[in-house]
């Protein structure tokens, strides 16, 4: 399938960062159109578009909006999730860096649909340059009267504030993000109540990913049906895929939902690094179950990925070639989860650290075959037992690696060395 550029249209074009050029090239037209529509009409278009939450959970955006009560007398907040931190994920950074006005335009549309007057963009603290570019765009938009007391010169107000994180993967989880904005450590909240009802500062809150929000302008301009038709059933439109790892051309590619994974790796990514064979693919960020090279004909959409026991997640596709050891790969992933667990729930706090230590011991050459039973059992005990999904995210690659690459673990334990010989350094 060809690339379809809905949100990536201006990636690589430095001019697009500026408001002036952007206004001359279709900028804010979707927002203007939306402001002329009734809020319900906007929600309807979004519902029809089958736009899914592109942060990772894939929840239908229109439905998510429908949970927000309008009659509480409290303000409704929008939190834009720009805490992109799932390993392998860097797609939102492209929007923030290359087309920040597209995001602001989407925010205006969402705000109009739900009667929102304050939006916070929660951007991960590591994103310094993206933050600077986004802040510049927000300032421009205020100066031009696009944001502020009279949005686009109309009679509604909208403030957009950027809230910088400070280095915590967990704050990408919706309720941890809210806690973090409220000035607390990022401990996810118990649910219910869900943020739609009791969210930021105790008020109804909608939380959407950067990419999700950035799709809104075109959905409004061209219609929800049009968007839905680009993708596959119940997975509307396109999605940005962040391709990395053992491919010749890593980068961000916008493809229609349902594009085969093989196409992303071999056509967009121009195949495997150094002409080696593909061994495995992480299809949706570090929390997704690994796929073997035999499984890459599956289409990239939320439902198809779920069907083969993994997830589309954040759209981060990481290719792993034959020279890479799966035991070490898993060790790397579990180091991440153990480092990023918030520490609140027992199975996550203790389980992620335990798994990381077992894998470390195997790599040091002190593994036992019984460790594999323990690892499989821990994957079960870590699934579905915590407040948020981080622990499940740690269990997914654990379970799939041990299951699909059992021989590599066995090999490592028996011979105290990797099944695959690791390259010494990058040879890109």
């Amino acid at each position: 399938m060809p690339e379809v550029k809905l949100v990536s249209e201006h990636f690589g074009n430095e001019l697009a960062r500026g408001l002036k050029w952007r206004l001359q090239n279709g900028g804010y037209e979707g927002a203007k159109k939306a402001m002329a529509m009734s809020p319900d009409e906007v929600v309807e278009e979004v519902t029809q578009s089958y736009l899914r939450g592109l942060g990772g959970a894939g929840f239908p955006t229109g439905r998510k909006w429908s949970f927000v009560p309008r009659d509480t007398g409290k303000p409704i907040y929008l939190c834009v999730n720009a805490d992109e931190a799932e390993p392998g994920t860097f797609k939102d950074r492209y929007i923030l860096e290359w087309d920040p006005h597209l995001l602001i335009e989407g925010i205006i549309i969402c705000a109009h649909a739900l009667g929102i007057e304050t939006a916070y963009i929660y951007i991960r603290g590591e994103y310094v340059q993206p933050y600077e570019r986004l802040q510049k765009a927000v300032d421009e938009a205020y100066e031009a009267g696009i944001l502020g007391k009279k949005v686009l010169g109309g009679d509604v107000k909208l403030d957009v504030f950027i809230h910088r994180g400070a280095g915590a993967y967990i704050c990408g989880e919706e309720t941890a993000l809210l806690e973090s904005i409220e000035g607390k450590k990022g401990w996810p909240r118990l649910k219910p109540p869900f943020p739609a009802v009791v969210g930021l500062f105790g008020c109804p809150t909608v939380i959407n990913n950067v990419e999700t929000i950035s799709h809104l302008p075109k959905i409004i301009l061209k219609g929800g049906r049009w968007f839905a038709d680009i993708g596959v059933e119940r997975n509307g439109g396109t999605r940005l895929f962040a391709l990395s790892g053992s491919v010749n051309r890593p980068g961000v590619y916008e493809l229609p939902m349902g594009t085969p994974l093989r196409e992303l790796i071999f056509d967009r990514g121009e195949g495997v690094l150094g002409g080696r064979k593909l061994k495995a693919v992480i299809p949706g960020g570090a929390s997704a179950a690994l796929l073997t090279a035999d499984e890459i004909d599956a289409p990239l959409d939320f439902d198809s990925m779920a069907k083969i026991g993994t997830m589309l997640g954040s759209g981060a596709v990481i290719a792993i070639d034959e020279s890479v050891c799966i035991v070490q790969t898993l060790h790397n992933l579990e180091h991440f989860f153990s480092h990023e667990s918030c520490g609140q729930c027992t199975p996550c706090r203790e389980g992620t650290g335990w798994v990381f230590k077992i894998l470390g011991r195997i790599i040091e050459g002190n593994g036992r075959l019984s460790d594999l039973d323990t690892l499989r059992s821990l994957a079960e005990n870590m699934t579905g037992t915590s407040i948020c999904a981080l622990c499940d995210g740690a269990a997914m690659p654990l379970r799939s690696c041990v299951q699909k690459f059992f021989h590599e673990f066995e090999h490592y334990i028996r011979y105290k060395k990797p099944y695959s010989e690791r390259r010494e350094a990058a040879s890109a």
Binding site: G167, K185, S244, G245, A426
Partner: protein, 165 residues
């Protein structure tokens, strides 16, 4: 006895602008700690007390937040700070070699600061969100892509010449 911490006039004003964004003072805690770090290089205990008083947040909560997030420093770092991404995409593409070269060149262990106080560095297990640049690092917040041991030499060389200018 360490000296009391205080915001500069500019940062005091910056904090006022930040406070105006939120319905409650406490929400300004993360931004306030960022400001402290920008001004002071790290967040000393006196600044925790200062922020606690300013935002009317219990001191213990300030400490909880400060230690929860990994971008806040509680001790002095080098004039330049390097964060090398060790996450999956960078690892697949050879960040181990980059780390070894950094360590050898700087002559100081991960987490440390060179004896001249110029450069501190850490190898971070969390993904820095720039996997297309793998292996990559963050120097004073900005990304440097496609590293090899040789490019580490170049980068450190450039830093050295900048510092002496």
């Amino acid at each position: 006895m360490s000296e009391a911490f205080e915001f500069t006039k500019e940062n005091r004003q910056a904090l006022e602008r930040i406070l105006a964004r939120y319905p409650v003072k406490r929400a300004a805690l993360l931004p306030a700690l960022h400001l402290v770090q920008e001004q002071h290089g790290f967040v000393p205990p006196e600044a925790e007390q200062y922020v606690s008083d300013l935002l009317e947040v219990p001191l213990i909560d300030v400490r909880e937040v400060l230690t929860f997030y990994s971008l806040y420093f509680r001790e002095k770092k080098g004039r330049h700070h390097i964060r090398l991404c060790m996450s999956i995409a960078c690892w697949i593409r050879g960040c181990d070699g980059v780390r070894d070269r950094l360590e050898a060149k700087l002559g100081v262990e991960e987490g440390g600061t060179t004896s001249d106080g110029r450069i501190s560095w850490e190898a971070v297990p969390d993904c820095l969100g720039a996997c297309e640049m793998a292996p990559m690092l963050q120097l004073d917040g900005y990304f440097h892509a496609d590293l090899t041991p040789e490019r580490v030499d170049e980068l450190l060389g450039r830093l050295a010449s900048q510092s002496t200018e």
